[in-house]
Structures are given as structure tokens and as C-alpha cells.
Amino acid sequence: MDLLGYGAFFLTTALIFSLVTLGLNLQWGLTGLFNVGLAGFVAIGAYTSALLTTPDDAARLGGFGLPILVGWLGAMVVGGIAAALTGMATLRLRSDYLAITTFGVAVVVQLVALNAQKLTGGPFGIGFIPRPFGSLAETPLLFNLSNLAVVSVVTLIAYLALEHLSRSPWGRVLKALREDERAAISLGKSARFYRVQAFAVGGAIMALAGALQAHFTGFIAPDNYLPILTFQVWVMLIVGGSGSNLGAVIGSILVWAIWAGSGTLTSILFPPEQQARAAALQIAAIGVMLCVILLIRPNGLFGDRPRRSRFSKRAKIAAGESSSGS
């Protein structure tokens, strides 16, 4: 019974990661937009939903006590807007600028989470976030299973919606832009407009994942959203194969299994005073793994067909576009 409960807990976490990875797959896999600050968007979602749904708290702003679903919708809206703004600022420039800016977004979100006590509770975070089926908390197994059901349903909906989107005319434009920007533009598609949309939708999905996580654990703090989160999700997407939604989900479960498994292993093998060092070694190993996969099997387990070499010209084309456009 214990094992079943842990299995449900494990899968719930893995599926929440899958949701972030699905958002990243829309941004990177489908559209070729590089987001190294996704932890920031996840955090925005978590904090937005927490603020909207927690009971009133005199120590900080809000605690509006709204229903959980409103919190999730709010998280998606705010996350989407934040991503759209980031995209609008940088998508007319070289692709690296988006990477640097998203990195900056994550740094600033982390700063706000830590320092804007009135809004985010500072380093102590926000507690008492309402949990769906919180009344079942006395029977952990039932509680874990019902949470798993909720998260599975949300992930499934997101998965089906993204599958549909990527086959729709909209998704085809994104793929066309990724593969051959000049051809797509010559067909009258505005590259920047479509990219901002894709980036915003991806950001909204990440924010939703953050909100789900917040309501699953009932407590959030700035430490949940360090760069290591961004890194984990990237490894998940690369292992699964960018461009494939199924790969994103399976890659997330697989990498989370490796991560949680090696974490358990280090906690058994190493004495408590060496735990922090062992954890650092674990991260280093996963970092090396990312680089090795990029070198040996850049398309991951379920990746899209290899990109054509034309892709490499994109930087130059983008530069040409910005100089003619402004």
C-alpha cells in the first residue's frame, strides 16, 4: 500500500514536470525559441495561483480565497502575459537575446519572490495553499491517488490540445518558421507575431504547471524555482526528444525517475554530512549527460526528424530581417 502511495506521489510530480516540458516543447521543439528562464514562469504561475486562492493574510497582499480553478486560470493568464512581454521585447532580435532575457526574467522573479515580502512572503514563502481533495488528507493513499487523477487529467488535456495545435494550420506555420524562415515569411506569415503567440502559450502552460505543483504540495518558497529546475526540464525535453509531445511526457517521467532514484541512492550511500556534496555530484552527472546526449543523439528518444542544415542560417536571416525591419 505504501508503495502504491509513493508511486502515485512520484507520478504526480513527474506529470507536473511533464506539463512544464510540454510548454517548453511548444517553445523550443516546435518553434525553436530558447527559454533558459522557465523556472521564472513556473514561479509566476505558482505565486499567482497561491495569491488568488489562499485565505486572507494580514502579513501580505491578498489571499483572496477564490476557488482553485480561478487560481489556475489566473496563473495561465499572468504567465502568458509575462511570456508575451518577454517575447515582444526580444523576438525581433537574434535568438540568443531571448535566451539572455529569459535568464534575466528568472533572476528577477527569484529576487521578487525573495524580497517582496508584502507580495510573496519572502524567503518563508506562502503556506496554507488550498489543496484539491484536502478533506481526504487523513487517508494519504486516497489523497495521493485523487491528486494523481487531477494532474493526469490536466496533463492529458494539455497534451491533446498541443497535439491538435501542432497539426493545425497554426502549428504548421510554426514548424515552417523553424525550418525555413525565409520561405514562411515569403508566404505572408509574420514570423514575430507567431513566435510571440507560441512563446506566450508555452509560458501559460508552464505557469499552470507551477500552479498545479503549488496546490499539490500546499506550500511554496523561492527555493523551489532555482535555475536547477530550468535545467531539469531541459534535460527532460532533450532526453525525450524535442519536437515530440509524447517524447516530452516520457522524457520527463524517465528523467524524474533517474533523478529521484539517484537521490534516494545517494541518501543511502552517503553519510548525512556528505549529502550536499553528493547532491552536487548528482547535478554534475546530469549536466554531463545533457552534453553527451546533445553530442551523440541530439534528437532524443522520440525526436522529430533531424533539422535541415538550413536552420544554421537562421541567425543571419534574423539579422537581415531586423536591419530591414527597423
Partner: protein
């Protein structure tokens, strides 16, 4: 508001600027933003620290030079550290970046640098733990120099060192054949190859300069602040912001950008509070991207 922020800002700006030179060179010549650059800083600093300790173990305690907090061992160690960091950068290029570059996917290289950055930093944390260390625990008395400004001998020495290094790199870039080859490659890679520029050697020089300066910047942080595995990663955003503010590919731009960001950070610390310091680079970065994305001294890419 006290004018002390000018000295603090110039010092932070020197660290950012020295790091940003490496960022701007890799960006303009190898055409990718290297997220592992901050970790070159940290590795260089820990290497320098290791050499200082080794010298200390061999020859015993060495008296510091004049009023400075360090003696000749640190200077020797810094040179060893610079060489080490340059080699580290070359090695990482050989096993990782060069291979991915040859596949022609620019943004994959950026991602690989992100992975490498995580791995490098965690290895430092594994070896040295995340507890901060110091080159010297001695406390220096700051001398008043007028206008309410105080400065320590270490700070003067490091500002001078920065000035010398920046001048040196600037002369290298503008007065030597190597430097001109680097500029040519950054402005038009195809044309540079046609006129027979040895791309591989230019790439090597780029990594050597970037790595060595990253080490100096890291050691400056180590002397004036503290040594931590995250010291370089925390400098990443200011360095990127400085490189973009100055204009990609411009050495004077990177240094000026670094000084502007350093001064803005020091001013913000006085006016708003130290906890918001890291947001300054982001605000400047966004302002540049909206108003003048090619930066102060940038040229449009052809």
C-alpha cells in the same frame, strides 16, 4: 548620498567588464552566448586559491607586498590560474563546443554551454563545498581620499590592473595581426575565410583571452568579496547585460558597459537597498534591447 558608490561601482564594474570582454568575444567570433563563462571565473579563482595554498605549504608564510593584503604567491598563482582557465576553456571547446559548432546549430551550442555550466559549478561545489572561502582574512584600513570617499590599497591595485589589462587587450585587438583577424572573423566569417585567415587559431586566441580575463575577474571578486562556487554564475546576467549594452564585439564597449552597470548597481544599493542589486542589470538590459539593441558601440551584423 555619499560618493563612496563611485569607488564601489568602479570596482564592481571592473569585474563585470573583464568578464564581459570574454562574453562579447565568444559571442561575436564564435556566435553563441556562453552560459559557462561565469563558471570559468569560478574555476579560475579556485585554481588560483589552490596554487596560493600550495605555495604557502611549500615556502611558509610570505609577507604581503607593502600595504596590500597579498604577497608574491598570489601574483604567481594568478598567472598559473589564468593559464589554467584558458586551458579549461580550450578543452571545453575541443570536447563540446567545437563539435556542436561543426553541426551548424548555433542555439544547440548555447544549450550545451548551459549544461556545461551546471556541471562545472556542481563539480566545484562537490570538491570545495558551497561554504565561502577567502584569499586573506586580514582587514584592510580604507584610506580617505577626499569627497567622503575611502579606498583600500587592494582596491587601487586591482583598478590599476584592470586598466592595464583592458589597454593590453585593446592594443592586441587593434594593433596586431591576430587582433585584426579576430575582428575580420567577427564582422564577416565567410569573407575572412576567403582571405585565408586561420579560423582555428583565432578561435583558440578567443578562448585564451576570454578564459584568462575571466580568471582575473574571479580573483578580483575573491580578493574583495569572497570565493563561492556560485560567484561566477551570479555574474552572468551583469556580464551579458554589459556586453549587449556596450555592443557585441566591442572591447571598449564591454568595459564601459561593465562600468555603467557597476556604477548603477552601487547607486541602487545606496538608494534602494542591496537586495535588489541583481535587478539593475536586467532593467538596463531590457532598456537597451528596446531602445538600441545594437548597443553603444555595436555595428549591425551583415
Amino acid at each position: 548620498m555619499s560618493l563612496q558608490f563611485v569607488v564601489d561601482g568602479l570596482l564592481t564594474g571592473s569585474m563585470i567588464g573583464l568578464g564581459a570582454i570574454g562574453v562579447t568575444l565568444t559571442y561575436s567570433i564564435l556566435r553563441f552566448s556562453n552560459f559557462a563563462h561565469g563558471d570559468f571565473m569560478a574555476w579560475g579563482t579556485y585554481a588560483t586559491l589552490a596554487v596560493v595554498s600550495a605555495i604557502g605549504a611549500m615556502v611558509g608564510k610570505v609577507a604581503p607586498i607593502g600595504p596590500l593584503s597579498f604577497g608574491w604567491p598570489l601574483i604567481v598563482a594568478l598567472i598559473v590560474g589564468m593559464a589554467f582557465t584558458a586551458l579549461l576553456a580550450l578543452l571545453l571547446d575541443k570536447v563540446l563546443f567545437a563539435r556542436l559548432r561543426s553541426q551548424g546549430q548555433a542555439i544547440i551550442v548555447v544549450m550545451a554551454s548551459f549544461g556545461a555550466s551546471m556541471a562545472l559549478r556542481s563539480l566545484l561545489e562537490f570538491t570545495f563545498t558551497s561554504r565561502p572561502t577567502y584569499f586573506s582574512r586580514a582587514i584592510q584600513i580604507a584610506m580617505p581620499v577626499g569627497f567622503g570617499i575611502r579606498i583600500t590599497p587592494d582596491q587601487i591595485a586591482l583598478l590599476l590592473l584592470t586598466a592595464v589589462l583592458v589597454l593590453g587587450v585593446h592594443l592586441l585587438m587593434t594593433r596586431t595581426q591576430t587582433g585584426r583577424s579576430m575582428q575580420a572573423l567577427s564582422q564577416n566569417a565567410a569573407l575572412a575565410r576567403i582571405v585565408g585567415i586561420d579560423v582555428a587559431s583565432v578561435v583558440r586566441v578567443t578562448w585564451v583571452i576570454g578564459g584568462a580575463l575571466a580568471c582575473v575577474a574571479g580573483v578580483m571578486i575573491g580578493i574583495l568579496v569572497q570565493i563561492r562556487p556560485f560567484m561566477g554564475f551570479d555574474m552572468l546576467l551583469p556580464m551579458f547585460a554589459a556586453a549587449i549594452l556596450g555592443g557585441i564585439g566591442s572591447i571598449p564597449g564591454a568595459v564601459l558597459g561593465g562600468l555603467i552597470i557597476g556604477l548603477a548597481e552601487a547607486g541602487a544599493v545606496q538608494l534602494i537597498g542591496a537586495e535588489w542589486r541583481a535587478a539593475v542589470s536586467f532593467i538596463i538590459l531590457m532598456a537597451v534591447l528596446f531602445v538600441r539593441p545594437i548597443g553603444l558601440f555595436g555595428v549591425r551584423e551583415r
